[in-house]
Symmetry: C2
DNA sequence: TTGCGACTTCAAGCTACCTTTAAGTCAAAG
DNA sequence: CTTTGACTTAAAGGTAGCTTGAAGTCGCAA
């Protein structure tokens, strides 16, 4: 029956628009699927891809970073090696982002407990991190 | 001497463009400074503001969220109260972001250690989170 | 055969966050 | 007085990540 999925079925699963899916294909982060009289027919593989894409997007990666990651896997230089390099790099970026989030958390906590009546007064305190 | 700062001095301190500073003023996240024959002259207060803005931006807040945060401080309802509410809310958002980052970290670590030769094969594994 | 609904493409539109450009003002130096 | 350099404005331009619109195709049902 549902051996293949139409674009709108896929879209519904992920709560995104069909136009977004076509766009992802266009910029090369989703492979072009088989066609049945012009219409895209997806296998479950697209679900795995989209799941990774969504998580990456949620954590702040751009579509172009994601593309780089995917191409890094596919490309020539013995896949697992290049792949490892790229994911190491992305992991380092994640570390940085997490540190920044923590700094911001500290900042917000200070702001929350601040009793200043003017923002600038408060800002002055904050800079004493 | 440097009792006041020109827009380009401020820009240099933060490594941003003068146009960005004017834009921040335009959308209301930087207060309009005094003018000396038309030109903006800043006090050190602007540095505190910009520091907070930069950190917030780094952690993914939009300029409009930042504006809301600032206005929340300034606005009517006994400042510290409204302020506290808003920062609580932002803190909750931060928590969520951190969780997502951690999920992504797990994902990337799995990918790094993956020996699949095809992305889809790898994706399948990943979905067993 | 006609109509319907779900798809297709291509191009233009939209929001956020700025940057760039054009044209002008100001003040201090030569 | 003219030039220089740093500023001013308003408006247009640019990029990311889509969305929307117009016009057309496909296959099935009445």
């Amino acid at each position: 029956m549902a051996d293949f999925l139409t674009i709108s079925e896929v879209a519904r699963v992920f709560g995104i628009r069909t136009s977004a899916i076509r766009y992802y294909e266009q910029i090369g982060i989703l492979p072009a699927p088989l066609r049945k009289s012009g219409q895209r027919r997806y296998t479950e593989n697209v679900l795995f891809r989209l799941a990774v894409i969504q998580r990456a997007r949620e954590t702040g990666f751009t579509l172009y970073e994601i593309r780089k990651l995917f191409f890094g896997f596919a490309a020539g230089t013995s896949p697992p090696k290049r792949w490892r390099e790229l994911s190491e790099q992305k992991l380092a970026e994640l570390q940085l982002r997490m540190e920044r989030l923590k700094t911001m958390e500290t900042l917000l906590k200070k702001m929350r407990n601040c009793h200043c009546h003017a923002l600038d007064e408060c800002g002055k305190k904050l800079l004493a991190l």
